[in-house]
Symmetry: C2
Subunit: 405 residues, 2 copies
């Protein structure tokens, strides 16, 4: 058994989150990923909290499994030549280097796709080319701010806020992997690769607009934009006598079962709450009466009651709770493992099951430059040339290769 | 020019958001999508705010472009037989019907993939099969609560909260389309379809854990989980003299340029703020000094200053602002259009560019059952049999077919 992308070679010229999510997803499905890093290494190596070894943060480990690392000083011509040797063997190139810098390195789509017609070149940018924001730098929070994600919070609670997740980076990385998959499928039909541009702003604006344009889809607008049920300031886990639970009772059947469960059967025939349309029109009151009712019992009591009544409800989990959640342990999403260089860790497994075969669990995230010499040898660079690259500092190798094996 | 998924036929047995996002993505890339609806129609038809025509809400329009609708009463055996005729012609089947109900309809993976070895069957579920939560109902907010998304807010602001977007539905729909693309690629190699399970809980828990497990990746934990920079309660657009802007100055070069721009050059050598590590350790103070500085000028003034200094910063957009954003207009993400049945609308275009060819803009979202008779005829059902299905109520057609043309 092997993954759906077995045999696909990916050259990864990306860092931090958006690109590494894309290439990490491809690796999870069995692609071989070569991560090209500068002598300083991916900035993410030092972000997200304490590590056991410098430049091996937990956050880096979790976004970079299944990749091998080569460290090249691309200021040197010989390093750029070595990079092109790697590109020649690649099926897919993923980069979030700004397009002008791509061109300076000779790895932009115009240069590569002409020479390598089977290459799929995916450039993740902040803003689509050709528009007035083209070339502007993009970071997750900037994209959340300009794309309306932060605006959804102002529409909900009155205060603009970012989601406390790198939602723009993470979602656009998943989308990049998705579009690369479609291009791989097309290449099987046509024999040709292509250039893909994934603009983060446009993708996140589409995300927000599909959900919230609503009555302002129509011209003239039938009402201001915003799905009031989703934007309710009460859209949050509900406090019980001893904690919180997550509850959703949207269809009439669920809402009526909920009213029975909380001892308010008369609401089933109350014109303000009996139907989806009525509850949507009275979202604030509906959410308020739910909040009031749930104070009466513990989370465990309510979960048992709602389970019996087929009302969708689940425990509220904090981040640390996920490591011990029985479902995540049973499905293998969370497991205890030994990292090859970093020791005992928790490991995140594949979420999705494919009956056609799953890739073996990806290898551990690499130390900086751990695989450089091996990768160049695989690309056909002669041993003497690799030594020269190393001696002149074009190829940077770890000080203690044994530790990075 | 045609889309990457030109020629791919998708049978869509899904409703509301998670499944329709997946099939809408496939349609955007040129797949033919047949949306199967019950006589009541997709619940989303009536959600998200006012419509011009009943069951044609703006939210429904935006998630269901490029699909044709057939309305079948699957309680009737003849309707179930007609559904199987459609499945026989499909490359991909997407469903978020619960697995036990899939089996009752005869469209579960076990039944179909044996008979149709080239079919890719994608079942989107709340929780992976085999675990203790298998079969529990799943809705966006329930998944946000159990997967740690709401917990990220508690870690940030002290209060559990849902993202005011259907992030679990929307992200898992994008992931389903991604995994289907990988399966289509594999089918070109092997000639075989497969069964895919996309569990929302596992996908969203992986989303949260990759970002926030951080120092708790290690056993024993080096520190509690959570990326403190992302979880800072100050992670939000920054107020200026007349509004807000979105600003990100993460690398040392950006932060130093920012300190110069706000007239605080001494911070470049302040050990508390000079490096990424120092600013991460002093996130609260760093964000507070940024907030204090930005009160001095207007948004437009700051954006001009930061643009010149190459500090990433962008305007803050409310949802309604997106409809008039110059970049979104230039890139075609937002355009003014005429909907075939609903009149003048704003339309959301494709965010991603593929040089191998883009699909034509998808057709408008269908009225309920608008294409039923035509779809059965294309599947080879004889005209007399279609009439019989219609007469017995197995196939439901609109009252005014001319309006749904």
């Amino acid at each position: 058994m092997s993954g759906a992308l077995h045999g696909v070679r990916v050259l990864d010229l990306s860092s931090v989150v958006v690109g590494p999510v894309a290439t990490g997803t491809l690796a999870e499905h069995g692609a071989e990923v070569i991560k090209v890093e500068s002598p300083e290494g991916d900035l993410l190596r030092s972000l997200g909290g304490r590590a056991r070894t410098p430049k091996m943060s937990g956050k880096f480990l979790n976004f970079n499994r299944g990749k091998r690392s080569i460290c090249l000083d691309l200021k040197k011509p010989a390093a750029r030549a070595a990079l092109l040797r790697l590109a020649e063997r690649a099926d897919v190139l993923v980069t979030n280097i700004r397009p002008d810098a791509q061109a300076r390195l000779g790895v932009d789509a115009a240069a590569l796709t002409a020479a390598l017609p089977r290459l799929i070149h995916c450039s993740i940018v902040g803003f689509a080319s050709g528009g007035p924001y083209e070339g502007k730098p993009a970071y997750d929070t900037v994209i959340q701010g300009v794309s309306g994600v932060a605006g959804c919070f102002e529409a909900s609670t009155g205060e603009p806020r970012y989601v406390p997740l790198l939602i723009a980076d993470h979602v656009c990385g998943l989308i990049a992997a998705q579009v690369i998959g479609f291009a791989l499928y097309r290449r099987e039909k046509t024999g040709r690769g292509e250039a893909i541009e994934v603009p983060m702003f446009e993708n996140m604006a589409a995300f927000v607009l599909t959900e919230h344009m609503g009555p302002s889809t129509f011209r003239p607008a039938l009402a201001p934009p915003g799905d009031l049920r989703v934007l309710s300031p009460e859209a949050r886990p509900i406090a019980t006598a001893d904690g919180y639970i997550a509850l959703s009772a949207n269809t009439d059947a669920q809402a009526h079962a909920f009213f029975d469960a909380i001892g308010r059967p008369e609401l089933k025939t109350d014109p303000d709450f009996a139907t989806v349309a009525a509850r949507t029109a009275n979202t604030a009151r509906y959410f308020a009466l739910r909040a009031e009712a749930l104070k009466a019992r513990t989370s465990a009591e309510w979960l048992a009651i709602f389970d019996a009544a087929d009302v969708p409800a689940m425990p509220y989990n904090r981040i640390s709770d996920l490591l011990h959640d029985p479902q995540l342990r049973a499905s293998g999403l969370v497991s205890e493992a030994e990292n090859a260089t970093e020791g005992a860790v928790y490991r995140i497994g594949a979420a999705n099951r494919m009956s056609g075969g799953m890739a073996p669990p990806p290898g551990d995230a690499p130390r900086l430059g751990a695989d450089g010499a091996a990768l160049l040898a695989e690309a056909g660079v002669a041993p003497g040339d690799i030594d020269t690259l190393r001696a002149e500092g074009s190829l940077v190798v770890p000080h203690h290769p044994a530790e990075s094996a």
